[in-house]
């Protein structure tokens, strides 16, 4: 009997926890939509490219982190290996893009 009450309690606890996570994810979604609108707005507004390009790249990186940490649950515990793998991938990716874009200039 006591075991039953316990599991009912923990179920309630997890339900609340999931609800809290969901709230964060909805906020994340709203912010990603806002960032997307800002990025498109900057380009449609015809600002200088030296201003627009860095800003939209930063917005993309922030959206990337939102997606990883909230939508793909990397903010939860037990995600050390996924973090290692994805950041190793990002490191190799940065080198690849850098290499391919600088080769053409020389």
């Amino acid at each position: 009997m006591s075991k039953n009450t316990n599991s009912a309690h923990s179920e309630q606890f997890y339900k609340e926890k999931h609800k809290e996570e969901m709230k964060h994810q909805v906020i994340t979604f709203a912010m990603m939509i806002i960032f997307t609108i800002i990025a498109f707005g900057l380009v449609a507004g015809g600002f200088s490219k030296y201003f627009t390009i860095p800003v939209i790249l930063v917005l993309a990186v922030v959206q990337f982190l939102f997606q990883l940490y909230y939508f793909m649950h990397m903010n939860q515990k037990g995600h050390e290996m996924p973090a290692l793998m994805i950041y190793s991938g990002v490191f190799a990716a940065a080198l690849t893009v850098l290499g391919l874009t600088t080769i053409v200039w020389w």
Binding site: Q25, T36, F71, I86, G89, T96, V97
Partner: protein, 209 residues
Amino acid sequence: MTHDDMLRSDNLPHEPEKATLEGKNKFLGFWFFLGGETVLFASLFGTYLALKNSFGGTEGVPTTELYGLELVFIMTVLLLTSSLTSVYAMYHMKNHDFKKMQLWLGVTVLLGLGFLGCEIYEFYHYVHEYHHTFTAHAFGSAFYTLVGFHGGHVVFGLLWITTLMIRNAKRGLNLYNAPKFYIASLYWHFIDVVWVFIFTVVYLMGKVA
């Protein structure tokens, strides 16, 4: 735990996607795969950036005239929303509500199909209005390889999620298929991550420069 226990839908543990060794291994292995996918897409992005507006001896339409922002914006919102609906699906999976999970996965698939339809229209439009084809020039090849590869991922993701939904429709949620659903949703989020960089680097930066 016996095999029969794993296939039972009642009394699922907290986080059913990581409750078994198989589930844990799938989770780790899939993140490893996503690290590799990141590098794969980076090589396509690098190639695109290097060959952007390279027409060689032929005539071509530069990015500033070719791309239209309205359609890309609609595609972005469709894919971003489908990412949220697959989060909803995983929320219901964690609460062990199989029917609602299936419902939200269904919405995800519909939004993904909408995105795919827009992309097919976009490519059709480029080919027929601007003669911007895969074999026309280096820019065309790089563009269709990058964006087409992402589109291919969308197709694969849609087939994957649909297959899981149909195959497990009568089984309900259990420890055997919870990791499968979870990993398919990770894949879907990754597709959206790649799209964030495509709309920024390809379309927005193409429109500015």
